[in-house]
């Protein structure tokens, strides 16, 4: 195994307000970690900082991914290094077909890593295969990125992108929000299909339901900008029963 991601004493300000206040977290290769926590505890901030969004000011601490100082890398280099964020609110891009977008992304990453790019035929073959697994019809390849997609379609499209880009660190930011039970199952199965000893994951969620499908290795409670409790899946069950009030340090 070995540590894939190391976050140490992370302090992050957004608009001069301190949101993450000394967050530390280690994730092993192949580990799926769930992060739960009350609204406003900093879960989405963590996701954004990991992916490299602007406007997040790291005042203290560091993030190392596969030995690299992640905070020094622009978002595109992080992606090429294997970081993938499934957005809580996937962004609409009118005028850009989904297949063009995914192919451009995949080949940009490959170019960045010095690998051979996929031609149109190779790409289409792969995309068809992955779309089928996610029970997505192919006509969405030609639709503009996320434009006119339902909530479920958007999340499914995120998992589709993830399966095409084959990251080594997947961050799922409330990927279960807005999904009905059937869509949730398809999305979770899609994620499970990608799991192997190389893929580490951070699953941000409010609900036990997604964790039932994903069976994370560890569960971390984030409150007031820090990890206040770490445990196995029994922690999620305790949470479901007693709420954050029932967990030491989480209120």
């Amino acid at each position: 195994m070995g540590t894939a991601l190391q976050i140490k004493n992370l302090h992050v300000e957004v608009n001069n307000k301190l949101i993450l206040k000394g967050l530390s977290l280690n994730i092993e290769h192949g580990e799926m970690a769930a992060i739960m926590g009350p609204n406003g505890s900093g879960k989405s901030t963590l996701a954004s900082v990991l992916a490299g969004k602007e406007g997040y000011n790291v005042t203290k601490g560091y993030i190392k991914y596969l030995g690299n100082d992640l905070l020094k890398m622009p978002p595109e280099d992080r992606a090429a290094a294997g970081v993938f964020l499934a957005f809580q609110y996937p962004v609409e891009i009118p005028g850009v077909a989904t297949s063009t977008f995914v192919r451009t992304s995949l080949n940009a990453q490959k170019r960045n890593r010095g690998e051979a790019e996929l031609d149109a035929m190779q790409f289409l073959k792969l995309a068809r295969e992955k779309a089928k697994q996610l029970e997505m019809s192919e006509d969405f390849f030609q639709r503009a990125v996320n434009v006119g997609f339902s909530g479920g379609e958007k999340k499914r499209a995120e998992v589709f992108q993830m399966s095409m880009l084959e990251p080594t660190l997947a961050i799922l930011d409330e990927t279960d929000s807005g999904l009905d039970i059937d869509a949730l199952k398809i999305v979770a199965e899609g994620v499970n299909r990608l799991r192997d000893d190389k893929l580490s994951g951070i699953v941000i969620t409010h609900y036990q339901r997604l964790l039932d499908y994903l069976q994370p290795d560890t569960i971390h409670i984030l409150a007031e900008g820090k990890i206040v409790k770490t445990g196995d899946k029994s922690l999620a069950l305790l949470l479901e029963e007693k709420g954050y009030q029932g967990i030491d340090g989480a209120n």
């Binding site: 992916a51 490299g52 969004k53 602007e54 622009p74 978002p75 595109e76 992080r78 992606a79 090429a80 993938f84 964020l85 957005f87 996937p90 962004v91 891009i93 009118p94 005028g95 850009v96 977008f101 995914v102 451009t104 992304s105 995949l106 940009a108 990453q109 960045n112 503009a144 992108q161 880009l165």
Partner: protein, 442 residues
């Protein structure tokens, strides 16, 4: 400026014998009336509403020679080859026709230069070249304001050449016709082209007016005015690609009359570094006629580019759509003025207009002005205007997938223009995309 007006007037009167068609009475009258009108109105200044976005200082502060000895020969081998989808190409160099290319002229299609028609079939052109005032604005007060049209008056008085396209009844023209304009004009000269497009009943035709960027950046003033007649059940696409260098002033007018059940589509892509104004004035004169006018402005450096559309609904159940997309970088400026006028009794009108601008620099400026004048009751009209910068959210989304910042910006700029390009026919879409890509790589 009064002096300049007078100088042009004097010039016309001492040199009118040198303009083609002097022996054709109706054309002579048209020219005379036009120069009189220009003598009265002069170039439009800031007091003319449609002209008050940006000053045309270079135009109004300089004298441009109407008949100069511009070079008239060009090495045709230097010109890019005719596009395989293009059926007929006319090449104009410095305002003179230098070549007409086609493999076989389709039956029922007549295409040639204006001077050819004036010599061989002048009666065909009678009433098809309109007076400068035909498309002038009738204000709500019933007063006709001729001043916005004074460039058309200059064109009417001084034009020397142009293209004539005549498509006969029920003829569907395969491919498209390209009117290519190349210029390497002498400094401080002007050149006016007057073209006529006439589609008989049921005819169908696609045309590209391609104004090519040249490498000379001397101050010159060019204008192209095209009179368009689309008969019942006919369908015309008339597109413009307009490029130009730093000191070039180019004013381009399309004047269209649309009859029953006819369709008109016009897409203009303007990517000049100089000062350009592209107008579309369209009258929906027949029931169920429809007009779609799209403009894509790509501004950079110190370019000043204006788009003006004016669609007049004069019969029942007519449709129109106007769309402007404006991308501006560096110090460039642009305006879009779009007007929908629905005359009395034109019930069942459906008219939409939208203008969106994307500013890539802090110094870029855009003015967007939608106007509706509705005199009928049963009408559906909409208009919308937005101005913004590149979306940080979209940029981050693309970058988070591995796409570099430069590439991500390029994708977003392209996608912004794609809504205009996507409506172009298969014949032209690749050429249009090339202009778009060229713009961002500049």
């Amino acid at each position: 400026m009064k002096n300049l007006q007078h100088k042009y007037y004097e010039y016309y009167n001492s040199n009118k014998g040198f303009f083609p068609g002097i022996d054709i009475n109706w054309l002579n009258d048209l020219r005379e009336k036009a120069i009189d009108q220009f003598q009265k109105d002069g170039f439009p200044d800031k007091s003319v509403e449609e002209w008050n976005n940006f000053p045309y200082k270079d135009l109004t502060n300089n004298y441009f020679e109407p008949l100069s000895d511009n070079q008239a020969e060009i090495d045709l081998n230097l010109i890019e080859e005719k596009d395989p989808n293009c059926t007929i190409r006319l090449i104009f160099f410095n305002g003179q026709i230098v070549n007409i290319e086609y493999n076989q002229l389709p039956k029922g299609v007549e295409v040639n230069s204006l001077t050819y028609f004036l010599k061989n079939n002048p009666n065909f052109l009678k009433d098809k070249i309109s007076s400068a005032n035909k498309y002038a604005e009738e204000r709500l007060s019933n007063i006709i304001d001729s001043r916005p049209q004074s460039i058309v008056a200059v064109n009417t008085a001084f034009h020397k050449e142009g293209a004539v396209i005549h498509i006969k009844k029920n003829v569907k023209m395969p491919g498209y016709i390209e009117l290519m304009h190349i210029g390497e004009y002498n400094k401080n000269t002007m050149q006016h082209m007057r073209s006529v497009v006439y589609l008989e009943e049921g005819a169908d035709c696609e045309i590209l007016e391609n104004i090519v960027h040249d490498n000379v950046s001397d101050l010159v003033f060019t204008s192209n005015v095209t009179d368009v007649h689309v008969s019942d059940d006919a369908s015309l696409s008339l597109h413009r690609f307009i490029r130009g260098s730093t000191n070039q002033i180019h004013i381009n007018n399309i004047h269209g009359s649309l009859h029953e059940n006819s369709n008109f589509l016009s897409t203009s892509i303007i990517n000049s570094l100089g000062q350009v104004r592209a107008e579309n004035r369209v009258n929906l004169l027949g029931e169920n006629s429809s007009s779609t006018i799209d403009i894509l402005i790509l501004g950079s450096q110190n370019a000043v580019i204006e788009g003006l559309t004016r669609v007049e609904h004069s019969k029942k159940n007519t449709k129109s759509d106007q769309k402007a997309r404006i991308v501006l970088g560096e110090n460039s400026k642009a305006s879009f003025q779009g007007k929908i006028r629905v005359n009395q009794n034109s019930d069942g009108t459906l008219a939409n207009m939208s203008s969106k601008s994307l500013l890539l620099s802090d110094k870029a400026r855009v003015n967007s002005k939608p106007e509706l004048e509705i005199l009928a009751d049963d009408v559906r009209c909409s208009h919308g205007v937005t101005v913004g910068n590149l979306s940080e959210e979209q940029l981050f989304y693309l970058r988070s997938r591995g796409i570099s910042e430069v590439e991500a910006k390029k994708i977003l700029v392209n996608s912004f223009g794609n809504i205009i390009l996507d409506k172009l026919s298969d014949n032209l879409i690749e050429r249009a995309k090339k202009i778009m890509l060229g713009y961002y790589n500049e």
